[in-house]
């Protein structure tokens, strides 16, 4: 039982990381109906920026917000340069472009920083505390707390501020918003910036656990896909819940299902994606999609 609790707690921690990246995916999906295949690589690049800053002697708590601001700006820049020219193009064009972006960023990071895995500092110690018989490290608890804070911040921004209202309006009724004077394209850019910053949080949280290198997010993004599909790809809350469920499931499956073990945990994510598509295609919190003629 204790082992079970232990696995659940550490699963929740990795789940928090998946949740942040899934939340970033959902933000862009809601803004333009697109799954951003480059989300993981953008987060990886942001983590490298944080790494460079910390390595140059910048304090962690200054480097972190600085990185988020840079990631935010980078997300906006990417939207302006790469996405804006094809904003009205068919969906698959956009998907291919985000995939191209992922490949490009991955190659660039490899060329600039190399493929040697580096250790990345965590502000939380790995010392453990006793919770109901399970030992959780401060790092795990910190990760869970950070993803909670990120979700709350995004929720407040989207639901309680004018900017959030405008962003939602631009995403749902682009034409009407444009007539009301909303600069729809800039709202999309803002969505990309936000997603980029939220994704960067996941990169910075996962780097201390799995070491920083250009291919770091390649598996994490698959877990995030599974989380987003499970939660309902348009629901921010669903993404977070999905993230935690995926984290715990993968952890339990790795230990209790002998044929899964450590190296097939990723296959569990694939199984979750396919299972959701068969059993509940709209996810836990998603609405059935309506297609307009």
């Amino acid at each position: 039982m204790q082992e079970f609790l232990q696995l659940v707690v550490s699963g929740l921690a990795t789940g928090g990381i998946f949740a942040s990246l899934a939340l970033a995916l959902v933000l862009i999906y809601n803004a333009m109906g697109l799954v951003n295949f480059a989300q993981g690589e953008m987060a990886m690049l942001a983590t490298f920026i944080a790494f460079t800053l910390i390595n140059r002697g910048v304090n962690y708590w200054i480097a972190l917000p600085l990185t988020l601001v840079i990631a935010f700006g980078g997300g906006i820049a990417i939207q302006r340069i790469v996405i804006r020219p094809v904003e009205r193009a068919p969906l698959l064009t956009l998907v291919i472009i985000t995939l191209g972006l992922a490949t490009l960023l991955n190659g660039l990071a490899g060329a600039i920083f190399g493929y040697v895995p580096r250790s990345f500092p965590s502000p939380f110690s790995v010392q453990t505390v006793d919770i109901f018989g399970a030992y959780a490290s401060y790092r795990d608890l910190g990760v869970i707390a950070v993803s909670g804070v990120v979700l709350l911040a995004i929720y407040l921004l989207l639901q309680r501020t004018t900017v959030g209202l405008t962003m939602r309006a631009a995403a749902h009724h682009a034409e009407a918003s444009r007539l009301l004077g909303v600069r729809v394209s800039w709202m999309l850019a803002l969505g990309w910036g936000l997603a980029s910053a939220v994704g960067a949080v996941s990169g910075i949280m996962v780097a201390p656990i799995i070491l920083l290198e250009p291919n770091m997010m390649q598996t994490i993004i698959i877990y995030a896909f599974a989380a987003a599909v499970l939660g309902g790809i348009e629901s921010p809350l669903g993404a977070v819940i999905g993230g935690f469920i995926v984290g715990v499931t993968v952890n339990l499956a790795g230990t209790y299902l002998p044929f899964v073990g450590g190296d097939l945990q990723l296959a569990v994510a694939l199984a979750i994606i396919i299972g959701v598509l068969i059993l509940k295609p709209n996810g836990l919190l998603g609405r059935p999609s309506v297609r307009r003629v």
């Binding site: 698959i222 994606i273 598509l277």
Partner: protein, 363 residues
Amino acid sequence: MAHRLRTLPPRYWLVLVVVLFLIGLPSVIDSFQSGEWAQALVLAIAIMGLNILVGYSGQLSLGHGAFMALGAYISAILATRYKMDYLVTVPIAGLLTGLIGFLFGVPALRLSALYLALATFALAVVAPSLIKRPAGLTGGVQGIVLLPPVPPQPLSDAYAFLTGTAMTSDQWTYYVTLAWGLVLFWLAWNLLRHRAGRAMRAIRDGEVAAAASGINLAGYKTLAFGISAFYAGIAGSLFGLAAGFVSPDSFPVALSIQLLVGAVVGGLASIPGPLIGGIFAYFLPIESNQWVPTQTWIPVQIATTIEKAGPAVTYGAVLILIMIFAPNGIVGLVGGAYARLRGRVRGAPDRDTGQMPQDTQTV
């Protein structure tokens, strides 16, 4: 007959010229290069399958590398474990992969094209570790080593008679791949010009309208995916033949990206596109690795960075630039230029001749 020949549309002549060129190619390049071209043709076959899916049904697979792996391992296992003739295993690998692709497509195609892209991408990332697991069957990390194929004696003799040298195993592989490429090309050509092809294009151009016209959306989408996986399976099987071994690392995510690059470069809905795309995707990293270090005008630092980055940066940049500036690929560019030129020479816009306008953007 003579009249029919003269009135053949130019594209038939183009196909003939290209086929003759490809048949004659091994006699002017060396055996090693024939092996390289065989690999390029393997990519072209897989891209042809991808093209059927993307160009003619508006679905996107980012995991065709995984289906290639499946085809390659089916052939390799049948050939080494059950001592089957490798060439016999090729169609078996294709059909089995097609069937599995069909089954994989059933859940993924129930929703929008995004979910298929997502699920197939996940499949491509997971594939190497899935292959490693049943180590007794797949040889684990080491993979399976295959014997080089031996050309049949009569063919080898005929080849020696024509060119003066005996046929090598690389050249034989090349011809096997080319033969499969031609058969599959003919299949695609016919498929896309008939009922199924029209139905798939109708789905691509407007699902609701297609459904309203009585087209079984899910059925045709899954069919397109199955056919596409069949092509990938054949390509994978031939990949094993050309490479001489199969291992989990032969089929990374990068392979699926390489296929997508080839499809996009050639032109997503074009029938000749995959050949151009396959050649481009295969030779680009090889040629640029040889070319960049010889260019003294490129600063050393940039040159080494390009070398270290490998093809990823180029592939990524190519994907983005082509999708923004030439979404119909090289074939689209050439076709557009040809149409404009002909319009200028004949002075008649398409509208007046009663022709259908060219396919607009295809994805």
